[in-house]
Symmetry: C2
Subunit: 255 residues, 2 copies
């Protein structure tokens, strides 16, 4: 298991490398292609975490957990249902979740598992999907929830979820992560609000990569956010949200 991180060092340089204890073993090259260690070790007080990848798009699932589907009275879908959060919505560990100018409504957190794509791919079979997954990260799929149904004729998924800083990813990409026994836990101001098992997913990561790659090409660094389950709620101004997945880490953002 490798934990890949991106960082900004105190001298302003952006880099990536492998987490070892409190430090990062810096690498150079292409995280999704050829890379090698530079020989430098960056200690914890010499860098800040960045989002571990810079996706061209975040594919965000709706209705992908049995427990939430049952709660909202919906059948399990026959195909993954998704919207697209743009790359411009990216935020990393420690970044503030910003309120869009002129929006006074509720802002919601959704803790999720994120699949990080390794190679450009389309029409992938389920059995080949693992070859196209670099690893997994934590996602906070933030939503300006009052915008979603503001118009009676058109559900505004991309608008309400596409704002700058609404695609929180991190802290790292964990390779060889076994999601089957893991839980997604969300704490709002240190109070647990979500704690759901990934085994309750309707479409597994391999199914998601296969089915979605039949709809459109996935690129290196693209993220599929697997959808959320019970316990979604709103984040008051000044709050702190933490998404924790054992085996990946803890993604903390303030609002």
């Amino acid at each position: 298991m490798t934990l890949w991180a991106r960082f900004r060092s105190v001298d302003g340089r952006v880099g990536f490398g492998m987490v070892e204890g409190d430090a990062i073993v810096e690498c150079e090259g292409d995280l999704f292609g050829q890379w090698r260690p530079t020989g430098a070790i960056i200690h914890r007080d010499k860098f800040e975490w960045l989002a571990p990848c810079t996706p061209s798009k975040i594919i965000a699932l709706w209705n992908n957990f049995h427990a939430l589907a049952a709660r909202i009275g919906k059948q399990a879908p026959r195909h993954p249902l998704f919207l697209i959060k743009p790359g411009s919505s990216l935020a990393g560990p420690g970044d503030r979740i910003e309120r869009p100018l002129g929006y006074a409504g509720k802002i919601a957190y959704e803790g999720e598992l994120g699949i990080v794509i390794k190679t450009r791919c389309s029409n992938v079979s389920e059995s080949d999907a693992a070859d196209h997954i670099l690893g997994y990260t934590c996602v906070n799929d933030v939503t300006a929830i009052d915008l979603l149904d503001e118009d009676d004729n058109f559900a505004q998924w991309c608008r309400s979820k596409g704002c700058d800083t609404f695609g929180c990813l991190g802290p790292v990409i964990a390779t060889s992560f076994d999601w089957h026994n893991a839980h997604v836990v969300v704490r709002l101001n240190d109070v647990e609000r979500q704690n759901y098992p990934l085994s309750d997913m309707i479409f597994s990561p391999a199914e998601l990569v296969s089915r979605i790659s039949h709809d459109l090409s996935l690129l290196p660094g693209d993220v599929i956010a697997c959808g959320t389950s019970l316990g979604v709620g709103s984040i008051k101004d000044g709050s702190t949200v933490e998404v924790v997945i054992d085996g990946i880490g803890s993604l903390i953002n303030r609002h």
Copy 2:
């Protein structure tokens, strides 16, 4: 008025430049920043057209023309209603519109005006919007229309419009284009199917850039597809679709 084009020359090189007659005056640098002519003139038989920019996202409007709103019995929206087509959906002039593997349903054309963003921007005022627009291009906002309402609970806008080759742009970016008196014309196998005035737009280009940039950041090369009007229809396999806007040019794609 400059007509900016991207091209692939016969020796495989990708470049950009200004269209003069049948040739391209090649430039180097950044189309969205500093550029200068290289001194080379690429003649028509020495290049093929590429999409004139490579957007990180295409913001595609729904219900932005009064005539179509009236036809479908919808009120004019109070805010631009949009979905996101990913950069991976890009196609250029002459590119084939590909049928997604395993999809046997109808594929629809929608001729539209595209706004090409010049500078990274957010929270732009309507009066400043022109400073952030490089120019305009033709768009064919292609849709796998039978996927849109396949699920009763979730309109699949991003899936049905996000497939590879479904974001056709070109042939050029026209600066100083005056949309007020222009029409969007679509011909399917040389038969006119759409011919609507851009003056019928609900939200103008300046309003779109302003309102949407309050929702999310727009990046250089991003495209806002202004929505379509009457005359949308399906493209049978083997058909040719042409989107023509006088002052910009003719975007032709085969399916």
